[in-house]
């Protein structure tokens, strides 16, 4: 049994089948990438898996439990965490507070304790802060910790989202275009970070258009087009698949992917 | 200098009451000082606008007592604001003359609290007397949900039985409502109904009267002293208001009073002065402030001192003082000093007031 199992997932928006009958599985320590042309349904797939959208059909199983359409906060409790293609930052909080927010499940106790400022509540908060600072250092944002998050550049915010998602200490991590807005060198750093996280046993589901990155770190690739799975397999196989080249890579990129 | 304090609802939902009251007080102080003040001493008026908010009224009362150190307070346009002021006045032992209608203000009697308007209950009684005389036994009630309307509704319901009259329909409307035809339609359809009573102030009664005409209801319509001013006829429209009866004070019919009437001189003087100064027609409410001011200055004059306790005693000893509402004679057990004769039953005819005999 895999950690995350997606079975025949599908959804429609006013007649448009955005995702149709997509299945795959994800195991601990594995990096599975979902690629496909713009509008193929990758983000929509993520949204269904993470409980943001209710799937029209199909099932999502986490650790064998049916978690289809479960509310995101309950999924978070079960170890799922994600980042967003369209940034979702707590704008008016500091960078540090954004990262601490990722510790919510581990730091929160009762409201009453928080209202009264009981030592237990303060202790938990202090622990969370320590962890958050370490994570910020890991994504290279330690110096921005006290800045208001809304004031960061786009690339910095992308990395902040990753830090926040890692703060949950997830078992499954969904990353939607984590390297968008980063240059080749910055992408490589993120690359390493993801590989490191996967190596620690986290299952990672990745959407990314940077083929170099995808080919380098994926164990398995799922290709979507028009909501349908058109191919899957290891990077080498997929990048040679003519349908994938035609719909997505283009001949030039395909050449790159091999070279 | 003698400092008199006042807090009235010059703005806000009760500004119909407070605005003429404030203007009256200002005018009377001017007049009084021009005539040499009280026993040669100038009178200073400290006037606040509580906007009908009881909480503000209490704060202003505290301010009048503690900060401005006035010798007496006039005010409390509404029952709510009055009740807030009472606690302060009683605490500080400063005489307070209220301008609000509720009977609770002076019943039971509180040593330092007086009031000038006849009570809401008296207004109801006056109306029911007239209905009884016309052999009306079943009526419909439509009142506003504001303090005035609600208090009138409660008081009228409390005394209606004494006149053998039954309320067969009881409806209300919000103070800012635009159309009362649903309520009137319901009242109109009530079994055996013979007349309709509409206690309220503000635009409500005007709209009720117009809707009344619109629905062509041909039952007698009674309004209350809440709309006893020329403005009402204008707003409701002379045609729609034709035949409406209401209990009013002598003020509205100053010219119709016989010369022998003791109130004639007083009300005529006030009416002329007020209308000249403000350019707006007099109404019952300004008259309340007028009377309160007269009672107070009369008392201060008689007391010959501006000591609050002395003033209080003098107010309680007021006797035969003629005001706009009637002739006031107070006592230790009656801090109002008016009887039903203070009211006159008026009827609107050809766009003007007439006295119903």
């Amino acid at each position: 049994m895999s950690l995350l199992q997606v079975e025949g997932l599908g959804i429609t928006f006013g007649g448009l089948r955005a995702v149709n009958d997509v299945s795959f599985a994800l195991n601990p320590g594995e990096i599975v990438s979902v690629i496909g042309p713009n509008g193929a349904g990758k983000t929509t797939l993520f949204n269904m898996i993470s409980g943001v959208y209710q799937p029209g059909s199909g099932k999502v199983k986490l650790n064998g439990e049916d978690v289809t359409a479960m509310s995101p906060h309950l999924l978070a409790r079960r170890g799922m965490s994600r980042t967003f293609q369209n940034l979702q930052i707590f704008q008016s909080m500091t960078v540090l507070e954004n990262a601490i927010a990722g510790y919510h499940l581990r730091e929160s106790g009762s409201v009453l304790a928080d209202l009264l400022g009981l030592p237990a509540s303060r202790r938990r908060a202090a622990l969370a802060e320590e962890g958050a600072r370490a994570l910020l250092a890991r994504v290279g944002l330690e110096r921005a910790a006290e800045r208001e998050a809304g004031n960061l550049s786009y690339g910095a915010l992308k990395r902040l989202e990753i830090a926040r998602a890692l703060a949950l200490d997830p078992k499954v991590l969904l990353l939607d275009e984590p390297a968008a807005g980063c240059n080749a060198v910055e992408t490589e750093e993120i690359d390493h970070l993801i590989a490191e996280v996967a190596a620690s046993g986290v299952a990672i589901l990745l959407v990314e258009h940077d083929m170099k990155m995808v080919m380098r770190i994926s164990n398995h690739i799922v290709v979507l087009d028009h909501g349908e799975k058109i191919a899957e397999g290891d990077p080498a196989t997929v990048s040679r698949n003519p349908a994938v080249i035609a719909a997505y890579l283009g001949t030039e990129e395909a050449a790159h992917a091999h070279g | 200098e003698i400092k008199i304090g006042a807090t009235v609802s010059a703005t806000g939902p009760a500004s119909f009451l407070g605005d003429p009251e404030a203007k009256t007080l200002e005018m009377l102080v001017e007049e009084l000082n021009a005539a040499g003040g009280i026993n040669g001493e100038e009178v200073a008026l400290v006037l606040y606008d509580d906007a009908g908010d009881p909480n503000k009224a209490r704060t202003f009362a505290t301010r009048l007592v503690e900060d401005d150190e006035v010798v007496a307070i006039i005010g409390g346009s509404t029952t709510g604001t009055t009740m807030s002021i009472i606690a302060v006045a009683e605490d500080a032992e400063i005489p307070f003359i209220s301008l609000a209608g509720a009977i609770e203000i002076i019943d039971p009697v509180k040593p330092f609290v007086f009031k000038t308007p006849h009570t809401d209950r008296m207004a109801c009684e006056k109306i029911f007397e007239d209905m009884k005389a016309r052999q009306i036994a079943k009526i419909g009630l439509i009142s506003g949900t504001d303090g005035f309307g609600a208090s009138m509704q409660a008081q009228c319901k409390a005394v209606v039985g004494n006149y053998g009259i039954e309320i067969v329909a009881d409806e209300t409307y919000g103070p800012q409502d635009a159309d009362m035809t649903p309520q009137l339609t319901n009242i109109k359809g009530a079994e055996g109904i013979q007349a309709i009573l509409n206690p309220g102030f503000g635009q409500g009664p005007s709209i009720v009267t117009r809707n009344y005409a619109q629905l062509a209801i041909d039952l007698p319509l009674y309004q209350s002293h809440g709309v006893a001013s020329d403005g009402f006829i204008e707003l409701a429209g002379a045609a729609a208001a034709e035949g409406v009866r209401l209990p009013g004070t002598a003020l509205l019919v100053a010219d119709l009073l016989p010369d022998s009437d003791p109130q004639k001189a007083i009300v005529a003087a006030y009416k002329t002065a007020f209308e000249a100064k403000t350019g707006t027609p007099v109404g019952t409410f300004g008259g309340y402030a007028h009377d309160a001011f007269r009672i107070l200055t009369d008392a201060i004059t008689r007391a010959g001192s501006s000591d609050p306790a002395a003033i209080r005693d003098a107010i309680e000893a007021t006797s035969g003082l003629v005001g706009t509402t009637g002739t006031v004679t107070m006592s230790a057990t009656d801090h109002l000093g008016l009887d039903l004769s203070a009211f006159r039953m008026l009827e609107i005819k050809d766009g003007g007031w007439t006295i119903v005999e």
Binding site: Q91, G102, G109 | P54, E66, M83, D146, A150
Partner: protein, 319 residues
């Protein structure tokens, strides 16, 4: 020197202000105004938690103030409760009602939440005005004495009515501010601010948004209720106006004017809006006009609220 945390600094400033200003009071009336500021400050602190922290708008919180106030008027008479317990009962009822009402309406966002809460407030004030048999209607009802002042007098501390309520409301405000400040940097407070920023992101980090909003709503309702109780006990008389929508809007205005995001700012706003009408009485006729003008000017030139903007300016000069 030890550096004070913002929380301790805020509390210290507040406590000092409350303790020191009376030395400059020329008459008892100033105590009265001070007490009113504190009472409003408590209600507004609740708004800070709901609106400033969690970003949820309520235009009906006066409803809870009404419940707190009328509990103090009714429970002693009908249930024989001591007024202090009556206030507690009011707070409990407010919390329960906030829970019941909040569940459905907190699904709404922005103005829609505004109008729904407005409806709740209007409902409460209508019941208070219409159910004469219970509440005596729009003309208001007496409230029994708290009795604490008499106790203090026995203990040898003889305070005038205004002085007592100044001190007592001031103490309550300090407690309320302390709680709200504790909350700010706590896990719950952070989660509240997070859901303000992005509900969906808050959910994905595990915040139970529905529950948390409800908690904030309930807490702020209790603040409003306590504020209403204090007002009723102090005035010994209360009318349904306390629950009116004007009062709700006033609460929000105070908070925003002072700076809804910070406790001290909002209390500052409560102070300004309570004082302003008192100061403006010298301009009699122009009072309304000036009040409106001040509100506009403050928001135009200090868009984040008085206190935050002032602080920023002061800090700006430092550098």
């Amino acid at each position: 020197m030890m550096k004070l945390s913002p929380k301790s600094a805020t509390l210290l400033v507040l406590a000092l202000l409350i303790a020191i200003t009376p030395f400059f009071f020329p008459s008892g009336y100033y105590y009265r105004v001070g007490a009113l500021i504190f009472v409003n400050g408590i209600a507004v602190t609740g708004i800070v938690i709901l609106t400033g922290y969690a970003g949820q708008i309520s235009l009906g919180h006066a409803g809870f103030a009404g419940i707190g106030a009328y509990a103090c008027a009714l429970a002693p008479v009908h249930l024989g409760l001591h007024p202090a317990l009556a206030a507690l009962l009011g707070a409990v009822i407010s919390a329960l009602l906030a829970y019941l009402v909040g569940r459905p309406i907190l699904r709404l966002k922005g103005y829609y939440l505004g109008v729904a809460s407005l409806g709740f407030g209007i409902l409460v004030s209508m019941v208070l005005a219409n159910e004469r048999w219970l509440t005596k209607g729009p003309d208001g009802i007496e409230v029994p004495d708290l009795g604490l002042r008499a106790l203090l007098k026995q203990a040898g501390l003889d305070l005038s009515n205004a002085e007592f309520w100044y001190a007592f409301s001031g103490l309550c405000l300090l407690i309320g501010a302390w709680l709200a400040l504790n909350l700010y940097n706590s896990p719950t407070g952070r989660a509240l601010r997070a859901l303000h920023g992005s509900e969906i992101a808050a959910r994905t980090v595990g915040v139970d948004v529905t529950r948390l909003k409800l908690q904030a709503f309930v807490i702020s309702a209790v603040y409003a209720s306590v504020s209403g109780s204090l007002l009723a006990l102090q005035n010994k008389f209360i009318t349904p106006d306390v629950a009116g929508y004007m009062h709700s809007i006033e609460m929000v205005t105070m908070a925003v004017l002072g700076g809804a995001g910070s406790v001290l700012g909002a209390i500052f706003g409560a102070g300004i809006l309570t004082l302003l009408p008192q100061v403006l009485t010298v301009f009699a006729e122009y009072e309304q006009l000036l009040l409106g003008l001040v509100m506009m000017l403050v928001m135009i030139f200090m868009r984040d609220g008085l206190l935050p903007s002032l602080m920023r300016r002061v800090r700006g000069r430092d550098e």
